[in-house]
Symmetry: C2
Subunit: 222 residues, 2 copies
């Protein structure tokens, strides 16, 4: 541990809203770095530039340590390093994608994942015609029966679920059984996992229907 822990993390539970924002802050810093050669940045500047709240940025960061310098702001490179460490991006996380359909293949080649240091270790499917095939980006599809064997060798940290809804629960059970502790689920519907496994859902139908609601109200309400 390089950042000041303050002994909180073992006690309180950090809100998911906060962890999501940490990821956003990191992206903002990367953009700042890509831009002109600024070495420091204030919470106010970040807030203005990216539509955030300055106090919230400070509070989120202060939770993990005192990264800033009063009167100056945050040293961009230092803060970036600290955020990467807090988010666990200094490790090399390996991802298994369950389901080599359209969505699974798209996720396998999604450039944003590799950029932040995630490695897609393989696709897993039941369909014989898919097994042995590679995605455009070169990710190989394995028989789902091989997951157990490969999980040992490849040490998968995260699984993404991109199988049809009806197959999602058994696939999640399998993923949990091989010791994977973090799951990103793209299939619609509720899934059960043990408490020591973190499940995060990306629900496309809910997102789209929420937009539909907005349009319906908009047209009705005037």
């Amino acid at each position: 541990m390089n950042y000041v822990n303050k002994g909180r993390l073992a006690h309180d539970q950090v809100s998911e809203l906060t962890t999501n924002r940490l990821s956003v802050y990191l992206r903002c810093l990367n953009q700042v770095i890509d831009g002109a050669g600024v070495t420091t940045v204030s919470s106010q500047l970040l807030a203005d530039q990216f539509g955030l709240n300055a106090a919230q940025i400070r509070k989120d960061l202060a939770y993990f340590g005192e990264f800033g310098v009063r009167g100056v702001g945050y040293y961009v490179k230092d803060l970036r390093g600290n955020l990467r460490q807090i988010l666990g991006l200094d490790r090399h996380l390996r991802v298994a994608i369950m389901g080599a359909g359209n969505l699974g293949l798209a996720l396998a080649d999604y450039p944003g994942f590799r950029q932040e240091g995630f490695e897609i270790g393989g696709l897993f499917d039941v369909a014989n015609e898919k097994i042995g095939q590679e995605s455009r980006g070169g990710v190989l599809t394995y028989d789902v029966k091989e997951l157990k064997r490969l999980a040992r060798r490849e040490r998968f940290d995260i699984a993404m679920i991109a199988v049809p809804a009806s197959r999602a629960q058994p696939v999640v059970d399998l993923v949990v059984s091989v010791g994977i502790k973090a799951i990103l689920n793209f299939s619609p519907g509720v899934l059960k996992v043990p408490n020591n496994v973190k499940l995060k859902g990306v629900d496309l139908t809910v997102s789209l229907e929420s937009l539909s609601f907005f349009l319906a109200q908009d047209n009705a309400g005037g």
Copy 2:
């Protein structure tokens, strides 16, 4: 309007957390209908079966009308109809997908969208080799320059943004300029839209990094 409005919708703003849950409730009801021939369901039963809170279900629904019967529960088919109407799914919404890369093509063929009555009207891209091509599911890719002309004819309600991050803002500006009022953004980063346009983001990097955070804490904290 078939459901009791109570005149609230024009005044208060419904929380996005609530609208997301409405979509979840609808999916739960669909599953209940697929199962045994039950005609009524109580908030408690839904809560138990899908890991929700009964009071919250009742409160969310009560906001839009009195759909339940005391001592009985909710008539499943009626409630389903009311939810579909509230969410605007009784209309026929048309979707344009900006970007015919891996992700755009996967979205175009995603079965969950069609299932709830959304129609994918076309993919739009700048790459000449993609224009005129069809997705596996038969969605045609048009030149992005055609958006304006086609938007008039096809009356797109919703746009999904699946272009690289660097192209996202100009593409959103274009989408807004042709009169589309609801946008689902899959590209990472902050986008600006006028207030009368609803922008919703699905941020894959943030989701994955949030899982990474969990793993980092888990291993560090014991």
